[in-house]
Amino acid sequence: MTGATRTPDGRETAELLALYEEMAVIRRTEKAAHDLFLSGLVKGTTHLAAGHEAVAVGAGAALRDDDYVFATYRGHHHALARGATPEECLAELMSRASGLCGAKGGSMHLTKASGNMLGSYAIVGAHLPMAVGAAWSARLRGTRQIAVAFFGDGATNIGAFHEALNLAAVWKLPVLFVCENNLYMEYTPIADVTAVANPAADRAPAYGIPGETVDGNDVVAVREAVARLAGRARAGDGPGLLEARTYRHYGHSRADPATYRPAEEVERWLKHDPLDVARGRLAGLGVPAETVTAADARAEAVVQAAVEAAKKAPAPDPREALTDVWADGGARWRT
């Protein structure tokens, strides 16, 4: 790893620096997505995950490459953390043929199947049972893979959440439920519509699943918590649930200015930015500021190049609209 500093704990330093750089790439990709949206180059909507980076990156660091990941419409960070490039993602958002899903998915459906990132789903909670099924499949095939579903606090009040937890628990499946609790559904505080303090973690025990909370803005804390739960799941001890407390920097979607959030709350959370938390940890390990700045510069360059490349990419061939419905590649439904 370039830029890694030799310290008594050199390995941890190199790893943390890599995680930092990954988060820096995601942050800048989200900023680019936001700017491209405002300049009219991204249509539809986006749900940016800036502020949530430590969850995707920390969890990713604790998973095997062949583990399965399922995400929500707020899933840019998960696609990137599982190997999608900023260029593929931005090209998808910009409706280019080179997009991750050939521009058939868009921001809400980023999917990198070759990285076992099996999709971003726009129906709240729908993918939790799918992750249970992927974990079931891993067990049937004896692969010791696990499946992870990332979801929001709002999803905990959807029926599929409860059905998925119960089925995972009774079948003792290797699946992790990771809630990114950013305190809000769309515009409504989760606390206004949920009677328990931790909407995910407090409910897990009712299904016989251990429910934990973690500082979702601390990439190391997330990595450690996920590693522990993943280890249990892989060993056959059944599902786990982790509720990561985090905060989104942008509004819910599009150009939502999120004025419904109290200024002090926003300020408090912005001070606890996952990139700053990681920087603090790096400083604590004795990593010089220039090393971190160099990582920022590399991230900046990667995303800049991605934006330029995506802008130059062509639109999809309109005929692509009639492909990929069926496994034969086509869309024919009658003779």
Binding site: K104, G106, H109, I123, L128, M130, R141, A164, W333, R334
Partner: protein
């Protein structure tokens, strides 16, 4: 092998054949294991394949179909049972939004080879929430294949095609046919999806039917024959892929069309079929098309009321008689 088999036995036989052939085939659903299914359509599977291949689930339709989807995306060929087709509404998100769209919206990255089996249809006095013919719900969604066999041999042969299909298939088993008997499917019998069967040849009118409406249309055809009207009966067998060519081919001979549907007229598959005929086969017709379908009311409980709502032999005969006089 016995020389006759019931439709319900043909379901279990069809699944068992594929489970023997392919270890990726697994079953999940409520009461399908040791209990053998509330309609006994999974009888014997648990004994033969054990709990590692035949999984009893909680009453969680979303989890059943959602988990089947996740398993299908990751290398398995799950066969999920939804006990009554009415309950498909509980997992409608998976049938309408998730399963049929994931391949398309990921640009072809993910394939979902699963079968959702369900007991469909009325005629048994189960009331409005256990009697619906719901195949039209699925027909409105691009990306689902829809099978609805009428005979035991077709059940087994179409089950083989459905389970082997790399596309998701909703497999409608008809409650009213479970006890019916017929010759068993020969070994390795596969009925490719999307091929209708001409089950009775005739020159005067084409009756197109599905599932339990097939024997009903055949009975009507026998009655009509006594009046000198020679009806051709087509068992559509699948709604997607839809074998419109066989229907158009039959019309070239008979020039008259009647669809016989158990589902409500409103939004029924017959509407789609006759629109294709109007588009592509108008010149083949010597008379208007007619549709026999259920009334647009919830299915009532009492026999006399239910019979009033869903198609009957008399209704089909009357409609055809009118049409041949046109």
């Amino acid at each position: 092998m016995a020389d006759v088999i019931t439709y319900r036995q043909a379901v279990a036989e069809g699944i068992a054949r594929e489970m023997r052939r392919d270890p990726a085939v697994v079953c999940l659903g409520e009461d399908i294991g040791a209990a053998g299914g509330v309609f006994r359509t999974t009888a014997g599977l648990h004994e033969e394949f054990g709990p590692g291949r035949v999984w009893d689930t909680p009453i969680s339709e979303q989890a059943i179909v959602g988990a089947a989807m996740g398993a299908a995306m990751t290398g398995m060929r799950p066969v999920a049972e939804i006990m009554f087709s009415d309950f498909l509404a509980c997992c409608w998100d998976y049938l309408a939004n998730e399963i049929p769209k994931v391949r398309y919206m990921t640009g072809g990255q993910v394939t979902v080879p699963l079968v959702v089996r369900t007991a469909n249809g009325g005629g048994l006095g189960f009331g409005a929430q256990h009697s619906q013919a719901t195949e039209n719900w699925a027909l409105t969604v691009p990306g689902l294949k829809i099978a609805a066999p009428a005979t035991p041999a077709d059940v087994t042969g179409m089950m083989a095609a459905a389970i082997r299909s790399d596309d998701p298939v909703v497999f409608f088993e008809h409650k009213g046919l479970f006890a019916t008997k017929g010759p068993p499917a020969p070994p390795d019998h596969v009925v490719e999806l999307g091929h209708a069967a001409v089950v009775r040849e005739g020159d005067d009118v084409t009756l197109v039917a599905l599932a339990s409406m097939v024997p009903l249309a055949l009975t009507a055809a026998e009655r009509l024959a006594e009046e000198g009207i020679d009806a051709e009966v087509i068992d559509l067998r699948c709604l997607v892929p839809l074998d419109a060519m066989t229907v158009l081919g039959s019309l070239a001979k008979t020039s008259r069309l009647v669809t016989v549907e158990e589902n409500p007229y409103q939004g029924g598959w017959g509407g789609t079929l006759v629109s294709i005929v109007a588009d592509e086969g108008f010149g083949l017709l010597d008379a208007p098309v007619r549709r026999v379908a259920a009334a647009c009311v919830p299915l009532p409980f009492a026999d006399v009321l239910e019979a009033e709502v869903i198609p009957s032999v008399d209704k089909v005969v009357a409609k055809v008689r009118d049409l041949t006089a046109y």
